[in-house]
Symmetry: C2
Subunit: 222 residues, 2 copies
């Protein structure tokens, strides 16, 4: 990585390509194995990203190379670790019945770094291709310290879900955020905010509307 | 680089962070050693980039991390070589009197790759830190073939100036372009276009206005 790639700068905690509805919900009500986002239609939240040339799960050539593509292709830049909540890892609640569940992502998860899964029910670490999931019970600041060390100087991505992002915002540990606001209302579920203005005392906020219909909100610390 | 970083996809010829005035001029009239952009004030064209956290020449911490920063930090991503015109390399015209001129950029040029300088007056290659300038007399397609080979699978940046970008557009060799339109008129100089609509038969065009005052125009092949 060269200087312009971001390495060598401060080691940031970044929220990226996190999707919410116009009314601030990142997930609908009632997560299950069949409906990871509850009553919300994931397509209505994520389709802007899937249409881009750099979307991480793209297998065919093609895709758009406009504004949305800058956002998806920045996703993996200078990223050395991820932190996520247990509900992003899976639909189970409470103690693990067994350790058969290996996440939603199959044999080659799209993280390619250490991932720290916050849970009150730790289990042995799990390696799939070049991603290793560590299950830890930790306060946000402790988890961030672990992830920064594992990231080896690169940035740490805060992957969500909503409750996890809110916890790290409340602890004032988030440096930058990219939230994509989809042109739908969900009405209920996991709510990130009533309005992004709740954060404007601590963050610069820029709004970049895309022709795809989403509005990219970009936050960085004041 | 991971898939989302762009490696593994098609090898593109990209114009990036190229600045023009509202009336389409990339440089003013009368380039000289003292005024590389002629009568144009470079600050009025480039200041949006210099304000960002990821600007390649930034030495202090700080800078903005909004939309403009996505554009500057994408600059070096997956870039393996550069092609530029001789007038971008220096203010001399005609045969070289000597080889003392080493470009505008000092001992550590911001390219960090092979750079192919198109000129009717070749001279020996020149290495400064991790940038090597090769001076070649070649048609656009020949220069692109050389640069793609040197880029080792990564993309090639077409660095300008205006005449060079126009030449490669006329030869239909450009895959993507990011042109930042500054809110000034120059009236005379090197003109990229009368209006970007000249290109809409061959390119998708998206317009992303920034709070900095520039409008980012993003082009990719239809």
């Amino acid at each position: 990585m060269t200087a312009a790639g971001g390495a060598g700068g401060p080691q940031l905690l970044r929220v990226q390509c996190f999707n919410v509805s116009r009314d601030g919900f990142g997930s609908g009500e009632g997560q299950s194995l069949e409906r990871p986002f509850g009553h919300a239609d994931p397509g209505s939240l994520f389709s802007w990203a899937g249409a881009t040339a750099s979307w991480i799960n793209r297998t065919d050539p093609g895709g758009t190379r406009g504004l949305d593509d800058y956002l998806t292709r920045d996703h993996a830049r200078n990223r050395g670790a991820e932190i996520m909540g247990r509900n992003k890892f899976g639909p189970q609640r409470g103690p693990w019945k067994d350790h058969e569940w290996q996440g939603w992502w199959g044999d080659n998860p799209p993280f390619h770094t250490p991932v720290f899964v916050l849970t009150h029910y730790p289990r042995p670490s799990l390696t799939l291709a070049d991603t290793t999931f560590h299950f830890i019970e930790a306060k946000p600041a402790e988890a961030l310290a672990l992830a920064k060390e594992a990231a080896n100087g690169q940035d740490v991505r805060l992957g969500g879900g909503v409750a996890t992002v809110r916890e790290f915002l409340e602890a004032d540990l988030v440096d930058t955020m990219h939230i994509a606001v989809a042109p739908i209302d969900l009405g209920r579920g996991e709510q990130l905010w009533k309005t992004p203005e709740e954060l404007e005392d601590r963050f610069h906020i820029e709004s970049a509307p895309s022709v795809s219909g989403v509005t990219h909100l970009l936050f960085w610390r004041r």
